[in-house]
Symmetry: C3
Subunit: 318 residues, 3 copies
Amino acid sequence: MHDMPQTERCRTAIETSRHFREEVPDVVEKLVASCGAGTCFDHIGPEPIPSREAVIDLIHRINRLLYPGYFIRTRIEDFNLRYYFGQEATALFELLSEQITLAMRHDCVRHNLPCIQCEEQGQKAAISFMHELPNLRAVLATDIRAAFEGDPAAKGYDEIIFSYPGLLAVTIYRIAHRFFEQSVPLIPRIMSEHAHSVTGIDIHPSAHIGESFFIDHGTGVVVGETTEIGDRVRVYQGVTLGALSLPRNEVERLRTRKRHPTIEDDVIIYSGATILGGETVIGARSVIGGNVWLTESVPPDTRVYLKKPDLIYIGGTR
Amino acid sequence: MHDMPQTERCRTAIETSRHFREEVPDVVEKLVASCGAGTCFDHIGPEPIPSREAVIDLIHRINRLLYPGYFIRTRIEDFNLRYYFGQEATALFELLSEQITLAMRHDCVRHNLPCIQCEEQGQKAAISFMHELPNLRAVLATDIRAAFEGDPAAKGYDEIIFSYPGLLAVTIYRIAHRFFEQSVPLIPRIMSEHAHSVTGIDIHPSAHIGESFFIDHGTGVVVGETTEIGDRVRVYQGVTLGALSLPRNEVERLRTRKRHPTIEDDVIIYSGATILGGETVIGARSVIGGNVWLTESVPPDTRVYLKKPDLIYIGGTR
Amino acid sequence: MHDMPQTERCRTAIETSRHFREEVPDVVEKLVASCGAGTCFDHIGPEPIPSREAVIDLIHRINRLLYPGYFIRTRIEDFNLRYYFGQEATALFELLSEQITLAMRHDCVRHNLPCIQCEEQGQKAAISFMHELPNLRAVLATDIRAAFEGDPAAKGYDEIIFSYPGLLAVTIYRIAHRFFEQSVPLIPRIMSEHAHSVTGIDIHPSAHIGESFFIDHGTGVVVGETTEIGDRVRVYQGVTLGALSLPRNEVERLRTRKRHPTIEDDVIIYSGATILGGETVIGARSVIGGNVWLTESVPPDTRVYLKKPDLIYIGGTR
């Protein structure tokens, strides 16, 4: 092609381009066909579903009400505080009602139920959640204090609110858990997996967690669906509170069972520890050492450590 | 400065500001000089390179074709399905062709090759990828079913498509792997590291992975470049399928060798397990327990567990 | 409600909606009250604080100066290089000065200090940081070369700059560490937690890290506040350089102590290893094997491995 005259090269290039472009309709027909085949997943029909993007926007909006003044670029002062809350709360009510309604309607359609009250139910759930905001703020204040008391690197409360992934994950968990308690479908899990994505901390919205909870560093933490955690518990990166191994074919039977452990008040669990099983109880004030693997209960006031592992040293002069 | 008259303070403040601002050109000259020195990295020249931002946009666009109706806020119904695919596919063809062309051109320049056909090749690779979309949809449907069957916490397929990081990572892997097979440079790795960033799951685009693959929780999972994984494999958070340690200076020799393990059909690997080495084969239907560290092969139908570690209990009453 | 005439159903729906909407002012009053109670956290007052969003924008802007040509969609060539740096540096100076000033002012208010010079100090810190940019570029070039030499999967330098999370985390660490050295409050930690969020790598801005530092894969890596790392160190995913366990009530005393280890030149630390304690020194050229747990020093030139753990094999035919 180097030797072609300029005009010819241009024409060739244009024709080539047209050639490939003309295959787009083939692709489109194949995609349409793949939707009718019944093997692939799609959401085609008159009922819309919640929007992942809109649910993430809701998280930001709720955060602005929970931590007023931290996540906006305008100033809040005493004289305009009521205007600020008024404007934010009004907008939140509309947007939250809409997404909850979509989630409920989607669930009705999925179960072939009539959906005459979804809109009303959506608004009811939205306002009921919003009445809880001051209580959420109070519980989150205990989490913030626990972070400051538990982390020698913390320089102040603002740093924690601004930047600690543990607090962000717990904040989103507490929001999602509230929606879970209200039996709102889909939205709690979208919220908790958003938290997982930005923090590396995976807390199922149906877990129960007491006040003054602190997760330090946090990447890799997993808190399973039926976990119960008391007050003033501290957890480090890479801790798994999980289920025992699942034999294939028993998954269905296990969907409704308590499969994850119970952690009582004032327990500390160091990095990389794994605690498994629905009947495992870690007694109050116990300390679980780093990398410990536990599938049985521990009485209160126990410290559990790994026996010093046998290390092999090669070279060096000790 | 407290006692200065107002006008004087203002002037001082303005002058100070001008003083620091006037140093900006010095900084600029130093930065220009640092580009000529040959020690720093920059991309200066007439040929543009792919845009990370544009490649991430491509992922979203491809996702909208793979899961129609899930990641948009408008409704798709039977009557407008063809219009939807038509519009999305046309736009994707243009944008994909452009980025692939840029990646190929960048590679030509880097190897001092002529680049007369990059644009045509880019369009060819784009349309060829798009013809694969229905097949990708079918394989991903097996992954979605595997997630539902493998996770007792899953409430339905929509929840998995909307929010499971494991599915997102596998979706992006399957997209990136297809581009890798087409020898498209740079773009597959940008895609897989985007997946790594949002899910904590690091799958190299050149790994081979069979159908019905499920990663639960997923944070910290690493699947190395030359890993081979069969069908119906399930993997949990923190699992590494990696290379044996690399003596310094041998890196160059290893660039083309199989360095990562082979996992046969129907294997389950629990959280935190590490399997290393290019000659390590985990036989079909085997189960690898949590935190197990393996550098040798395991025959089919084997269960491998850590011997219960010696724990030290202090205090408590057992 | 199924049997209601159409008009009545509509009226009921509108009234229901008005009913829930009318509760919004109650919620607003409760939120206002929760701010006066002294138990919750808020930032209400005339002084604004830095914006998380603006600080993340600063990271992107600084990245564009550190890696010219990589993260923009326009072309940089020799003839417009000075214009590019000039425009970007001017904008950076303004935006950086503003955020540093806000951070300093916020700190003054918090400690009840007068804040007459915050704006001047903010500009001074901004320009002083910018004078360091060419040096940062030179150090980052050593990190990029270390990544290429340490990873057999690396196909070229561009791939590393575009997509390696380890390089992104180290880049943001080096930026944040510079601000930390300038005693800029809040901003370094917001930056490092942004890096943590997008890479899963948690490096405290006050740690000391030498040149040619490479983190491979990286998810779950923690480098604590008082860690010291020499030159040419390589670290893999899941490595913790942390503090020994903190007895409750001793946190306050420990805030100013060296609590994290020292890693000398040319050390390699494989995935999942944990090294704890302020007096722990890993001697030069040592290699720490995967999953090793260390709370004591290791002399130079030592290789430390876990003794092969006792595994239990059930079934299979070996």
